[in-house]
Symmetry: C2
C-alpha cells in the first residue's frame, strides 16, 4: 500500500514514456484506497497524440464512475484525437453498476489503449480489448522492451488490486497481518504490556491500513489486555469497519457491553468467533445480553482451537473481502502457521525488548531446516519517524 498523499501530477503537455504513464496510473489508483472495496483500485492516465500528459483519474469510491471515465471526462474530442490511454486494468466489457468502459471508450477518437492486467474473469478477459479493436483503437497489454522492468510493473499492477484478485481467483478473504515489534521480534511482555512499541507516525499509518480493509481481527487476549477501540482514527479518513474477535470459548462475550469495542461500534459491526460446540449455550447467553455482537460458530480442530480457514470462509460469506489481523501473539502466529496470511505489515521500533521475558509474533511457528524458512516476497521498506515498516506478500 502506498501512503495517502496528494499525488502531484505532471504539467499538461509533459512528455511521458509508456512506463512513466503506467506508473502514474498505478499511483492514481491508490488515491481510491479505503473507499472502493470490494471493487479493485484502478487508475488511468491519458497522453495526447504527441505523448504529452493530458489527464489522470481513478476509481474513487464503490459504485462510482470507473477510472477511465474520470480520466477522460473533461477532455474535448480535439484533445482526444490520436490520444493514448493507460489503464491499470483492462477496461470492463459489460455493464455493471456503471456502463461498460470499453464501449464508452470505443466512441472516442483515441488511437490506443494500453492496460496493465487482463480482466481476471476468464469469461470476459480480452473482451474489453476486443470492443476497442473493433472500433479501430489499438488495445494491448502493457509491455516494454525490458523484461526486468515489465516484471516490476506487473508486480505493482497486481499489488494495487491484490485483494480483489485474490477474492476473485480464490473466493477467499484477503488476509493482512499487521504487527508492531521490537528489533528482536517481540510484540508484548509476558505481563501483557505492549503499549507503546512504535511511535505516533507508525500508528497513524496503521489507521490508514485499517481503512484499506473491511475488518480488523484480534484474539481474545488482546481485548482482555488492551481493551482497544479497533476503529479508524485518521485525519483524512472517515470510515466504519467491522471488528472480528476470536474467542473460541466465548469467555469475554458476557462482558461485551463493558468493552470499549461495544461503545465505539454498532453491535452488528462486531463479529464474535466462537466454537461451533458452544452454539446452544451462546445463543442462550445472547438472549440475556442488553447488547450482543454478531456471532459466527466455527469448526474446531483437534485441540479445540477454531479452524481459522472455516472462520475466514464464514467471514467471506458475510461479505467481508479483506481482513487485517492485528494480533496478539497467539493469534498472529496461528495465522502464520496455517499459511493464511497474504500480506505482512511489520512495523519495527528501534528498541530491544529481550526475548527472555516477552512474546514473539511467531511463537507457534517452527521450521526444522533453513530450506523451510517462510519467504516474504517483493519486500518493501518504509520509515515512519524512528520506526520502519516492511511489507511484502507471504
Amino acid at each position: 500500500m502506498e501512503l495517502i498523499r496528494s499525488l502531484s501530477l505532471p504539467a499538461i503537455g509533459t512528455k511521458l514514456t509508456a512506463e512513466e504513464a503506467m506508473s502514474l496510473a498505478i499511483s492514481e489508483a491508490y488515491q481510491g484506497a479505503a473507499r472502493v472495496s470490494p471493487n479493485p483500485l484502478v487508475g488511468a492516465v491519458v497522453l495526447d497524440a504527441q505523448g504529452g500528459f493530458l489527464s489522470a483519474g481513478h476509481h474513487e469510491f464503490y459504485g462510482g464512475p470507473h477510472a477511465e471515465v474520470n480520466a477522460l471526462k473533461n477532455l474535448s474530442p480535439e484533445q482526444l484525437k490520436g490520444a493514448h490511454a493507460f489503464v491499470t486494468l483492462e477496461p470492463c466489457a459489460h455493464e455493471g453498476k456503471t456502463p461498460s468502459c470499453a464501449k464508452m471508450m470505443a466512441k472516442l477518437p483515441l488511437k490506443k489503449v494500453t492496460f496493465g492486467l487482463i480482466d481476471p474473469n476468464p469469461l470476459v478477459a480480452g473482451q474489453g480489448a476486443e470492443i476497442l479493436r473493433q472500433a479501430r483503437i489499438e488495445a494491448e497489454v502493457f509491455s516494454s522492451a525490458n523484461p526486468v522492468l515489465d516484471a516490476k510493473i506487473k508486480t505493482e499492477l497486481e499489488e494495487v488490486c491484490e485483494a480483489f484478485l485474490w477474492n476473485f481467483r480464490k473466493k477467499k478473504v484477503f488476509v493482512s497481518l499487521k504487527m508492531a515489534s521490537s528489533l528482536d521480534g517481540q510484540v508484548a511482555l509476558r505481563s501483557g504490556e505492549s503499549q507503546w512499541i512504535t511511535g505516533p507516525e507508525s500508528r497513524e499509518y496503521v489507521h490508514y491500513i485499517r481503512a484499506c480493509h473491511d475488518g480488523i481481527l484480534v484474539g481474545k487476549g488482546t481485548i482482555d489486555f488492551d481493551n482497544p477501540s479497533l476503529n479508524i482514527r485518521h485525519p483524512q479518513i472517515t470510515k466504519k469497519n467491522k471488528v472480528i474477535v476470536v474467542d473460541g470459548e466465548a469467555e469475554l462475550l458476557p462482558n461485551f457491553t463493558k468493552l470499549k469495542l461495544s461503545e465505539v461500534h454498532a453491535s452488528e459491526d462486531v463479529i464474535w468467533c466462537v466454537a461451533e460446540e458452544l452454539r446452544e449455550k451462546v445463543e442462550k447467553l445472547r438472549g440475556t445480553l442488553v447488547k450482543s455482537p454478531d456471532v459466527v460458530y466455527v469448526k474446531t480442530r483437534v485441540g479445540g482451537d477454531l479452524d481459522l480457514e472455516d472462520l475466514l470462509a464464514q467471514l467471506y460469506q458475510k461479505g467481508l473481502r479483506s481482513v487485517m489481523v492485528e494480533g496478539g501473539a497467539f493469534t498472529a502466529s496461528s495465522f502464520v502457521s496455517y499459511h493464511l496470511v497474504n500480506r505482512l505489515y511489520m512495523f519495527q521500533a528501534p528498541i530491544i525488548m529481550g526475548s527472555g521475558g516477552s512474546r514473539s509474533w511467531t511463537e507457534s511457528v517452527r521450521i526444522s531446516a533453513m530450506t523451510d524458512k517462510i519467504q516474504l516476497k517483493n519486500p518493501r521498506y518504509l520509515t515512519f519517524g524512528n520506526d520502519f515498516m516492511i511489507t511484502g506478500t507471504l
Copy 2:
C-alpha cells in the same frame, strides 16, 4: 558507518554552504575507514575566498598525513588567500607521528578554519584553535543558525570517530554487535543451522564492517557449528584482523589446528578467552599443541561465565580498540544483557524462521516493564539487496 563508495566531489568552484562543506568533510572522513585505527577518521574540505569548492582530503591510513594536510597540499598560496577550511576534528596542536596541523595551517594565508569537534583530550582541547587565532586565522567550532541541524551534524561528527572518542574517554574497547536475523528476530535454528539468513549484498557489507574493527569476537558455539574463517573478504579491502573466541572451558582449544580459523590466521592473531581458573591446565595443554593461539585468562562470574568486562579490559590492554561481536545467540545476548554494546548492526532478511524452533539474539535479555526497553539511538536504515540493516548506538 557509511558504505565504501567513490565519493563524487563537487566541481572546483561550486559554491557550498557551511553545512554542505562540513557534511562533505564527514563523507571524506569515511574514505579512510578500515585503515586509520586506532586514529580517528578525519575529513577536511577547503573553500576559496568566494565560498567555492577547492579541495578535500582525509586521514588515509594510520601514521599517514592528517586530513588537513591532504586537503591543502596541492593548493597554491594564491588559491588559499582568504580560504575557509572545514575539518571534522580540531586541528592537532602537537607533533605526534606527524607535525602539528594547527602550526602547518597557521603558516598559510587562510581566513578561517571551522572544525566539527573540539579535541577530546582536555589537556590540548582548544590549543589547535588558539595557534590558528594567534596567526590571525579565525577558528571556531561549527554551528549554524539552526539548532536541529546542528544537533544532526554533531551526531554525525561524533559517529564518524565514535570508536576513537570512546577509547579516549573511557579507555575501553568500542564494541559493535552484528547480527543477521529473520524478521522475527531469530538468528539460528535450534539445530544450529543458520546459513544463510541474509543475502550476498549484506554479507559483503559485513566484511566491510569487519574491516572497520580491530577484532571479531565469537562464542565457542559459533566455531563449533559453523567452523568459520572470520577473516576479511572484501573486493576493495586487504586487511588482517584479530579473532577472539570466548570459550570459558577451553573446550575447543585442543582441536585448534583443525579449525579453519587456524589455517586462515596467524596463531598470534587468534585470542582464546578462557576462565582464569583453568590457567595452569590450559598452559600445560598449550605446551602439547603444534600450534596454539594467544590465550587470555578472564575472571569468572557467579555461575562460571566469563566476566565480559574483564575480557574487554584485557583486549584493550593488548592494544585492541574496537571489536565486532558476531555471535552466536548466547554470546550476543550476553553482551546486550551486560550493556556492553556501543553500536548495533542488525541485518534482517525478509524471511520468517518462527520463534517456536529457533533462537533469538536476545535470549538472555529480560525486561519487566516497557519503560525498561533498551532504546537504539540515532537509528539509520540501509537496504542491501532484499535485506535491510538498521544501525544505531545502544
